[in-house]
């Protein structure tokens, strides 16, 4: 049966492209791995490799065609013994059970259309319409540290877009305080991997100015604790200038670095700033847990035209997770992930606390309590629908975060759930968070102050009245 060759997507956000050149002619016999054609977008070019073997029966989209839609049939590959007479040309491009749908990933922040204000949506359309990255069952996975996943994300984006560059303290020669920019100076040179003087406020301002000039800076803070000094540029300039300038000025920038507590580094190096940045309109705030999300979300952040605060975790850098070995792994911003399904209670968490929550779920499973664990992934915009639909199912909520509780992420989610799923709640929401003191240095005090799997499990037991 003839095989339809489809216009591939170079990236999850690509909708159409140019078919610049055919490297095969009608009648050519090809085998898997042969290069069929070249396609391009304004950002990159790519060769299309054949995944099947056969004879090119017909080229449907000539070389040089502009605006070729992703998934449009561009050629027919005939199998052994077939001719074009065997192909019903009227059915080309129609439903075909053999055709593999590769749906483009849409970024809910970037791609949302403005709806008619008279049609108030029942649920969140941007999120429910989002098509998660669907991986083929045989997708190869590569065990990768979070550190390298972040590096790979930056390197891939810098290869495909010359406007992207990295700057920060010790990012070049020293390859980053946590080696996240390993080998990047070698590959990209000093123009695109830039060491800065020790002035978070100064180099954040410099980067914001470069973004206003049309570049796409990635600013590494050695830790987000030091970014306190840069708050004015992040909030008063990066987040607000588009609005204040009537939309004239644009600030495409990513501020990234470790956030939250490490091991015994004291109060000034241990704070989780998710609620601080999550408070600010104009910013996008991301806090990934595993390596696949670290890579896919950082790539999405770099491509996003808005200022993004990307909160990493020092204690996760060395953790190894599977990362899909695909050409362009991008995870949509604004979509939470149900890491574990359950029916008795919902836990929400971000960053390292996702791992603690999954451990707590294991403890509770042994006790017969089935917990659903939601990895928030994006703090702003928060995926409200995933949280609400989970609580409507489990009827109980426990929020987990590293930061202090008052005015925190958990407070926000508890308010969201009481407003949006009040009638479904069987118990008051519970919050797990750091105790309200600056984090102490000594290991015993630090452990006492921070959430732990057991403390999370205890909160779930409380919410379940057991």
């Amino acid at each position: 049966m003839a095989i339809e060759i489809l216009m591939p997507a170079l990236s999850p956000t690509m909708e159409e492209g140019v078919l610049s050149k055919w490297l095969v002619d009608e009648g050519d016999a090809i085998v898997s791995g042969d290069i069929l054609a070249e396609i391009e977008t304004d950002k990159a070019t790519m060769e299309i490799e054949s995944v099947d073997e056969g004879v090119i029966g017909k080229i449907l989209v000539p070389a040089g065609s502009q605006n070729v839609k992703v998934n449009q049939v561009i050629a027919i590959l005939l199998e052994d013994g077939e001719t074009m007479d065997d192909v019903d040309e009227a059915s080309i491009g129609k439903a075909n059970p053999d055709k593999v749908e590769v749906k483009p990933v849409t970024d809910p922040v970037a791609d949302t259309q403005i709806a008619d204000s008279t049609s108030v949506p029942e649920s969140n359309p941007a999120l429910t319409d989002t098509i998660a990255v669907e991986l083929a069952a045989d997708t190869k996975m590569t065990p990768t540290t979070v550190r390298d996943a972040l590096r790979d994300a930056m390197a891939e984006e810098m290869r495909s877009d010359d406007d992207v560059f990295l700057m920060g303290e010790e990012v070049a020669e020293y390859q980053g305080a946590y080696k996240v920019s390993r080998e990047m100076l070698d590959e990209f040179g000093a123009r695109r991997v830039v060491d800065t003087p020790i002035t978070e406020h100064g180099f954040a301002g410099l980067a914001v100015g470069a973004a206003f000039a049309g570049l796409k800076p990635i600013v590494e803070f050695m830790t987000f604790n030091f970014a306190m000094q840069a708050m004015d540029h992040i909030i008063n300039s990066a987040a607000k200038t588009r609005y204040m300038s009537g939309g004239q000025m644009s600030c495409p920038i990513v501020f990234r670095g470790p956030n939250g507590a490490a091991s015994r580094v004291g109060a000034q190096h241990s704070q989780d700033y998710a609620p601080w940045y999550g408070h600010v309109p104009g910013l996008i705030v991301i806090a990934p847990y595993d390596a696949a999300d670290a890579k896919g979300l950082l790539k999405a952040a770099i491509r996003n035209p808005n200022p993004v605060v990307f909160l990493e975790h020092e204690l996760m850098y060395g953790e190894v997770f599977d990362v899909p070995d695909v050409d362009d792994w991008v995870v949509p911003i604004g979509k939470a992930l149900v890491r574990r399904e359950g029916v008795d209670a919902t836990i929400t968490a971000h960053s390292r606390m996702v791992g603690f929550s999954l451990q707590a779920a294991e403890i509770l499973a042994a006790e017969g309590i089935s917990v659903e664990v939601i990895d928030l992934r994006t703090i702003r915009p928060l995926d409200e629908e995933t949280i609400l639909s989970s609580v409507r199912k489990t009827n109980r909520l426990v929020t987990v975060e590293e930061s202090w509780g008052r005015m925190g992420i958990g407070a926000e989610i508890a308010a969201l759930v009481t407003a949006g799923a009040f009638d479904y709640l069987d118990a008051p929401p519970k919050r797990v968070h750091q105790v309200e003191a600056p984090l102490a240095y000594a290991a015993n005090l630090e452990a006492l102050a921070m959430p732990s799997p057991e403390r999370i499990a205890e909160a779930v037991r409380g919410a379940c009245y057991v």
């Binding site: 809910p108 949302t112 403005i114 100064g202 206003f212 000039a213």
Partner: protein, 413 residues
Amino acid sequence: MTQQKNGNKTGFFVPEPPARPGERPDFSNIDCSAPGAVPMPAIDCAAQKTHEFAGGLIRVLDDKGHADGPWDPALNMDELVEMLRLMGLTRAYDERMFKLQRQGKMSFYMKSLGEEAVAVAAAKALDDEDMVFPSYRQQGILFARGRDMVDMMCHCISNSRDNLKGRQLPVHYTWKEGSFFSISGNLCTQFPQAVGWAMASAAKGESAIAASWIGDGTTAEGDFHSALTLASVYKAPVILNVVNNQWAISSFAGIAGGDQASFAARGIGYGLPTLRVDGNDALAVYAATKWAAKRARSGHGATLIETVTYRGESHSTSDDPGKYRPMDEWKSWPLGDPLERLKAHLIGLGAWDKKRHEKMLSEQAETVRLAYKEAESFGTLREGPLSPTASIFDDVYVEQPWHIRRQRQDLGV
């Protein structure tokens, strides 16, 4: 506070200006070099070679309007008359807008009286593609770059034609087509941002440079110091201007340390060449800016320029200078009035006369009057129409995300 014990010489000290209300103005602390006395350094000179410029004052025009010395930019008559016209227009605009604020036509205004040369002459010395990051007292740049006056007024009264859609207080202009960055209400943020913009331009291989302006008081901000470090370290093609107009509302330049060392002198410590310029001498401002622009464009990096001037009016419409400085202090200002000095220069050249000057001023006053009338045809602050309410959530993000759209729907706009 406890009394200091005998012999304690630690000397708690807060500086005071030479004169407060009721006292005689005293500008003996202003170090004025004679016009033509300060040489012009080599375009690639090291910062350390500019010590004499940190203390001296680059001047071209003497008190009678005669031009002299190595800094005379030798502009032609048309260029000189154009600068005069732009300075006059800026003053006429400020004058009327200030009065209109007093009549409740807008909430707030800030004049640049006495500082017109700082903005107009610098703008004329730059290319129109050069990105400017001004403070709130360089509206002269807008006129020099040909911004429509009606548009400026529509912004100040937040009407339906305000290009900032009702989101910024008056005077805080943004004009992207004119390469004029958004005025920041947080002082000095524009300094490191200008450095970053300039570096980005260089990284892209473009020839445009950046220029930024702050006031004397703002040099105390951390941003000033980081910007100078960054501009020096990366040899950024940027011009960093400190407009020393003697006053930051009621605190004088000495509160920012200006009476201990000149603001220009700060550049040398960071490795930036520095120029100190008579800010009321349009030709000197033009020449110094041209020098710094040439230096930046030829790859020698940034320059710090202190323009010495005097704030002729209140800080803004919200303060009364009669409460904190001698009422007639501006009349004693040793560097005079920039408009009068350029006028005298043109008259001396035989290119201008008092009659033509009077005619120009009255025509400009009429231009401004008619422009405001036209601006009000697009709405007034009190009666509207104002910026459309439906746009309140526009431009928070590039595209309106679902959670913002939902808030707009909840708000019913």
